[in-house]
């Protein structure tokens, strides 16, 4: 059993699948609750898709580093990339109350992962984006269903 894994990958959509299997194996090995493993995989799908689609225009050697670790009572996902500077914590949330006719087709992924995470931190340092999502593993401490909208308004 190990309480951390780290991968460095070239951003491609196909990377999401192999990464997801690794996260599941890590979850099994550490007996993590399934919904938390699901949240990490959801976040990785969203973040890597965003990076591949928007993040690396003109970047010579695109790279994303992914670390998943258990830190005390928290499951911590960190992504570091050398793509365009982008602060997901500053992105405006979508209007989740809009009726079907007025729903924009995109913009949901970040809202979902930020809402599920107990803590989200973003830093830009030495030309690299570093995003950390923490999920509390102790159910009493976990906010889980936190409505993150207010802090963005």
């Amino acid at each position: 059993m190990m309480d951390e894994f780290h991968v460095s990958l070239a951003p491609r959509l196909s990377a999401v699948r192999s990464l997801s299997r690794m996260v599941e194996e890590f979850g099994d090995a550490n007996r993590l609750p399934h919904p938390k493993v699901y949240m990490v995989n959801l976040a990785l799908d969203e973040l890597i898709t965003n990076s591949v689609t928007y993040g690396f225009d003109g970047v010579a050697s695109p790279r994303i580093e992914v670390t998943v670790r258990i830190d005390g009572d928290a499951l911590v996902l960190t992504t570091v990339d050398n793509g365009r500077r982008f602060d997901p914590t500053a992105a405006a949330p979508p209007d989740v109350d809009a009726p079907v006719e007025r729903r924009p087709i995109g913009g949901l992924g970040l809202h979902i992962i930020k809402t599920f995470a107990d803590r989200v931190t973003y830093e830009y340092e030495n030309g690299r984006n570093r995003l950390t999502l923490e999920h509390d593993l102790n159910p009493a401490a976990s906010k889980g269903r936190r409505q993150s909208d207010e802090e963005h308004r």
């Binding site: 699948r17 997801s20 799908d45 890597i48």
Partner: protein, 113 residues
């Protein structure tokens, strides 16, 4: 990447059962299947989630496109048999308020007549 989608029919609806993962790598393939069925004249679609383990916003986007297309065509889209953690994602997104979600295929949709 492809996605396996089983299809079944009830008296008045086509039931689609995506299998495994519906994520950014195969959402386009799922979109083609769904839009082909709508283009072929299907007006009542049920997406049964019982064999789906994972959906990301790329997959949800396809459901939103289908819901919009069916609404324009006076049709309907219903989602059923979702696992709890998936239903939570739909709740956070507000999707549960724009696309009916039922326990099972037979259960009436919330809020429908």
């Amino acid at each position: 990447m492809n996605i396996e989608v089983a299809e079944e029919r009830t008296d008045d609806a086509l039931v689609l059962l995506p299998v495994g993962r519906l994520d950014s790598s195969n959402a386009r393939a799922f979109e083609s299947i769904v839009m082909e069925r709508i283009g072929g004249g299907e007006r009542r679609l049920i997406v049964d989630f019982s064999r789906l383990d994972f959906i990301s916003s790329a997959g949800m986007r396809v459901l939103l496109i289908a819901a919009k297309a069916l609404k324009t065509a006076d049709g309907s889209l219903v989602l059923c048999a979702m696992k709890n953690h998936i239903q939570e994602v739909f709740r956070i997104s507000g999707f549960d308020r724009i696309i009916p979600i039922t326990e099972s295929r037979e259960a009436p949709a919330n809020g429908s007549a």
